[in-house]
Symmetry: C2
Subunit: 403 residues, 2 copies
Amino acid sequence: MRDIAPTHRYRNNDKAIGVGNAFWDMSEQNGLAGIVAELEDGVLRTAEGHEFVNFTCCSYLDLDSHPAVIEGAIAALRRFGVLDHCIPRSRVQIPALLELEASLGELFGADVVSAISAGVASAGLLPLIASGHLGNGVRPLMVFDKNCHVSMAGAKPSCADETEVVSCDHHDVGFLEDMCKQYRRVCYVVDGSDSLGGYAPVLELAELQEKYGLLVYYDDSHSISAYGERGIGYVRTHCPVLDERTITVATLNKAFGTSGAAIMLDGYPKQVLRIVERFAGALSYSQPMNTAAVGASLASAEIHRTPELGLLQKRLYANIELFDSLVTSEQAGSTYPIRVVPVSDETVVAAGRKVFEAGFYVSPVFFPIVARGTAGLRVMLRAGQTEEQIRALCAVLGEATAA
Amino acid sequence: MRDIAPTHRYRNNDKAIGVGNAFWDMSEQNGLAGIVAELEDGVLRTAEGHEFVNFTCCSYLDLDSHPAVIEGAIAALRRFGVLDHCIPRSRVQIPALLELEASLGELFGADVVSAISAGVASAGLLPLIASGHLGNGVRPLMVFDKNCHVSMAGAKPSCADETEVVSCDHHDVGFLEDMCKQYRRVCYVVDGSDSLGGYAPVLELAELQEKYGLLVYYDDSHSISAYGERGIGYVRTHCPVLDERTITVATLNKAFGTSGAAIMLDGYPKQVLRIVERFAGALSYSQPMNTAAVGASLASAEIHRTPELGLLQKRLYANIELFDSLVTSEQAGSTYPIRVVPVSDETVVAAGRKVFEAGFYVSPVFFPIVARGTAGLRVMLRAGQTEEQIRALCAVLGEATAA
């Protein structure tokens, strides 16, 4: 019988599951994971009757429960009469996705291609970038930021069969410049907005883009809608290079409030856009966004065009400021809606439980998910949380983390 | 400047795009791809006013436009009040997915885990099988059928970083037995029902499963709902090994008529199901099926429990028989709803155009998508097509393919 020795060059389930499963088991044993609750009027209620406010939800503007968004989904279901009329869109399509892409294209000022999720978008696009088909025809060295979301990092093995793949330290612009000097073309894969708080150095990267033709692939899922004029997100607000050297994907499930994802492209000729539609993995063969998600997204896009979007962003920022005035964190002072409140390794789970019992869900992060000594409670602010709720949470956080 | 030489062990965009793009361009230049049309009362209508019946739609039972399915989607939107309440389900979830999984679990007689698409399910599950975490703990040799759908074949690079990966000829049971003799564990990855017609040899495979513990991973997307008691599909109807050695995924976008996918597992302990939920790629971090898809799927599952399902299947089979009585194809005589009508390489595109102009969309397949000399018009039968429509299509097919 032959024995198999895994290569583990880009992924290692033994390690990932060894590390992660212990974290999840401990979270669940302490009632801080595996929670099932009905949502009503912004409050979650378990079958046992425990009520709590969700402070780990990425719907930063509460557009997920906006009546116009839900009615938009229903209107599209009635208009199109199907969730999906199953045939590859490259053959025959009902106009749903085209209308959505036109609307989002106008909103974000880009050529937009839709996908069922940002993960599906990245899994499809990154190998196409690796082979040079989405880009300038040259196979780039693919440099993955070591902190980039797993939905991007998961594409490493596929990219490595089309070109060379390396990882770099978080936001290591110096390393990128070295690589740009050595390779004809480099692509950097990074979050525009990190899931533990913080933004990509878009201006420094733009310098490399201008100087060396660096291609940057951003996932800006955590800032779309929540940041910038009409919610165009952090990357497209600040990046001065909005042409074929910048590719941005963003989920529509977070602040946008619906379901699906948008790929934002600039300056690519029509033939390249067709190649994306035809060959970017699941974009070509798999399920598209369903019509309910399309209708909800059209409605959310309309809200983005009205002053209501700015009001919701202001409420979110006011809530972030209020939180920062009451609780210290490394992220304090930024517009980013995520905060990690430091707690000792020994007490973080107990602190999370205390906060939950008091009626608030925040998510504990601790070893082995993060390094020992860097544990904390992750808090996500939203526009719809009331001043009273935030003050009450902060009071409980003060007591729980002092313990 | 360093030059990059791609390995191209498991994928090759140069080749795939070189081959495929020519096919799509030619299809589109001839008006047989890139078609946009509104769907009304089962007929598609382009902006220019051309009307046609879709004979390349996989909604084999027409459940996609069933009023109860659409109303189910709307009811769920109103009940849950969000399409998605964005937080990983392993932390906190509204009961939507759990209710769906319970219903589908009862329907299919399995432990069901949902996913946004069958492609996302395979991309998540196959590497977990490769590392032995979904299975019996032994890293298997992963044998991919050379015809298996690209949504499975696309996982080869990721699997190859966790174990050994090979391909085999279509349904090559002899090769599989050889491998079973050489490796402690083998996993065979194959379509339960092929997209060009035909079923997997489940009984022969079951012998290897019993004799050697072969693990078989089936994508049964083309037969779910359309085949078997209560629509349990071809694999689960005929496979005598419904335990941890058989894993089946199926889309809900085809005959089931909604949006999403079901993973069907048997005999795995709860810890393994949690590992799937937590570590099967996008199942753990990405967007779940939205509530509209959940509500539609609950409604479709209800229809599957009534005599209506059997009536729809009977109508589908009657339509297949009618077609077979009028047009010759290699697939004639099977319950499979797909037929490929042979046409010469030189005339297949013109034939496809003639059929389209007469008011029917069938999809031409030709070189470089299939080998020279094997071109044809792919026809998909559905329950909702009328006898008149089928007779008219067959008459046109006769004229067009005789030319």
